[in-house]
C-alpha cells in the first residue's frame, strides 16, 4: 500500500513538472496595420473591453464617433487579409479578435451585430 502511495506521488510530480516546463501554446495574434495602437499594447490587452464599453455608450447616447476609440476604426486598423487579399471575418480564426478570444475561450457577441471587416461598399459613408 505504501509502495502504491509513493508511486502515485512520484507520478503526479512527474506530470505536473512536465506541464509546467512544457511549451504552452501561444496565440498567434496578427499585428495591426498602423504603427501603434491608440494605447500601449499591454494596456489595451487588459483594458480594451472597458474602453469599448465606455465608447459604445458615448457613441449611442452622445453621438460621439471619435477616431481614438471608435470600434469601426479598431476593425479598420486590425484587418487581417487572407491569401486572396480579402479581409477575414470573425468566424475565421485568423481574425484579430478571434485569434486571442478563441485561445482564451472567451465568447464575445460584438460581431453578432457589428461588421467584423471594413465595409466593402461604403455607400455614402466617410472612408
Amino acid at each position: 500500500m505504501k509502495y502504491l502511495q509513493i508511486m502515485l506521488v512520484m507520478l503526479s510530480m512527474l506530470l505536473t513538472n512536465s506541464i509546467v516546463t512544457a511549451e504552452v501554446p501561444q496565440p498567434n495574434i496578427p499585428k495591426g496595420n498602423a504603427e501603434k495602437c491608440v494605447l500601449p499594447t499591454a494596456e489595451m490587452r487588459v483594458n480594451h473591453m472597458e474602453k469599448i464599453l465606455h465608447q459604445r455608450d458615448k457613441t449611442m447616447y452622445k453621438g460621439v464617433r471619435t477616431e481614438q476609440f471608435s470600434f469601426k476604426q479598431c476593425i479598420n486598423c486590425h484587418t487581417v487579409k487572407d491569401e486572396q487579399g480579402q479581409a477575414v471575418t470573425f468566424k475565421d480564426e485568423r481574425h484579430f479578435c478571434s485569434s486571442c478570444h478563441t485561445y482564451a475561450a472567451v465568447t464575445i457577441d460584438c460581431f453578432e451585430c457589428h461588421a467584423s471587416t471594413p465595409s466593402k461598399s461604403m455607400a455614402g459613408s466617410k472612408p
Binding site: 499591454a42 447616447y61 464617433r65 453578432e112 465595409s119 455607400a123
Partner: protein, 256 residues
Amino acid sequence: MTDTTSIKMSRRKFLGVGAVTAAGAGIAPGVSLISIAEAKPVDQAISSDQRWGMLIDTNKCAKGCSACVDACNTENGLNNGDELNSRPEQKAQWIRKVDLKDKATGHEVSLPLMCQHCENPPCVDVCPTGASFKREDGVVLVDKHICIGCRYCMMACPYKARSFIHEELTHQMEYAPRGKGTVESCTLCVHRIDEDINEKRDPACVEACNGEGHKAMYFGDLKDANSEVSQQLKNHSSKAIRADLNLNPGVRYRGI
C-alpha cells in the same frame, strides 16, 4: 510579459490623460452652446439644441416610385444578401411606401412611412431595459447592446415602424450594426448626422428623393427657424399621422 512596475507607471500616466480628457469632454459640450444649425463636429457630444425632423410633401411623392426605400436599404445594409431565410413579412423594413385612397372622395395619395421619431415615443416608454431610447437631439434609436428582443416596442409602435431580425446576419454595414434577436428601425441616418462636419448630408431616403427630382422630402433641424424644413413647416399646412395620439412626431406630412 511586462513587469508590474511598468504597468503601474503607465496606469498613472493614463489616469492623468484620462482626467484631462474627461475634463475636456465635460467642458466641450458647454462650449458648443453657441450652436450652429449644422451637424456637430465629430468628437463633440450632441445636445438638445437641435431636433432632427422631416417634412414629407405627399403632393410631390410619386406613386410607384420607391427610390427612398431602395436608398435606405442600400445605405443600411438591408439588401446585402442577408435575411435569405426570412419570409417577406419577417424581413426588416425601415421605410415603406404606402398608397392610400380616400374612401369618401376617391382622392389618391402616396407617401413613405418610417419611424416617426416622436417626441413622446410609446416604444421608449414600454422598453423594459431602456434599450429603446430617444437621443437628446430627437432621434429615436435602439441600443442593441441592451436590447433583449422582447418585441414590446413593436407592439407599442403606432406606426409599426420597428422590425425584428429573425435570423443571423453577416453583411452589416460597419456604421449600421444589426443583429439576430434585436429590434431596429429607421435611424434618420444618424451615422450621417453625427459624422459630417462641413458637408450637410441628408438621410439616404431624402438624398434619393432629391436625386430622382421629386424633392418630396425635407430634412433638417426643427429647432432652427432658418432651416428649410422649419420654413416649409411654418409656411404651409402639415400634420402628423395619428396626431390625436399627441406623440408630436418629428416627421410631418403635407397633403394628407
